[in-house]
């Protein structure tokens, strides 16, 4: 999947995974896609859910390794 910004949050836990993702998306332009890399399992549910609650578009959540996930979010507001 194509993306405009990438945020490597390996080693980070809730709520800072969302806090840092949110700070990044606030600085992006409308329509741009953020890729977030996570290795903390609870964040894999929380980050997309929090973005959805904020009205952003979650494009994809995928597991890429044993303990590694990628979340793609499009900034729509």
């Amino acid at each position: 999947m194509e993306f405009d910004k990438e945020l490597d949050l390996k080693g980070e836990v809730c709520p800072f995974t969302f806090v840092k993702s949110k700070l990044m998306i606030e600085q992006m332009d409308l329509g741009q896609v953020l890729k977030v890399i996570l290795d903390y399992k609870p964040s894999v549910e929380n980050v997309p859910k929090s973005f959805q609650d904020e009205g952003q578009e979650v494009l994809e959540v995928k597991q890429v390794a044993d303990n590694l996930w990628e979340v793609y979010v499009r900034k729509v507001k």
Partner: protein
Amino acid sequence: MSFQFTEEQIKRYSRHIILPEVGGKGQEKLLKSKVLVIGAGGLGSPSLYYLAAAGVGTIGIVDFDVVDFSNLQRQILHNTERVGTPKVESAKKTLEALNPDVNVVAYNTKIQKSNVMDIIKDYDVVLDGSDNFPTRFLVNDACYFLGKPLVSAAILRFEGQLTVFDYRDKQNSPCYRCLFPEPPPPGLVPSCQEAGLLGVVGGIMGTLQANEALKLILGIGEPLVGKLLVFDALTTEFNIVKLRKDKKCPLCGEEPKIKELIEYDQEGCEIRF
């Protein structure tokens, strides 16, 4: 747009950043904002504490008093060790220990006609937590002339009052003199025996002042303009009374009489208001 938060700041303000109404953008606004608090006492203690915790970047404090044992029942910025030291210095120490992001500017002086404009002019929002009428009128008039929003609170016995005068919009906001055209005559000022106060009332009203200040800076919610909130600690009731702009008000009315600052004298025993 690009944020310059440090790791520590991201952690410190994470509960703000998570809020959709605040976010990184709002937190940055707070860090760039300047708030002036008149009085580091019963109202100023909680408001200053929360403003500093919230990351208001510049906080000015005006007070000329020293910490006294009689303050410690409610003035939670100070402590027993600091009795005898200037209140603004004690406040500065407490706030800097809480949050090093905050630049605390201490004005160890009495607010007067000669200094009030200079002190207020660079701030975005002013909180009045003073304990006497001459200061209240002087601060009000200066904020009015400078077009600064004023968050005003008062406490006595078991009662607290709060309102916001938004002098950025003088056409629509009532002013302090719409409520009280002149200071009360000396006989009507409460005497010392009447000046009892449950300490926690200052905590509640000062905290609400900080809340109004943060809303004004962030531009969220509805500021308490044109409304007077009255709190009764004995019944735990909050009531809101509508305030009207008085056409005959000596300051903001159709034919204003007051065109410059007035310094009033306070006689006799100072009330704690």
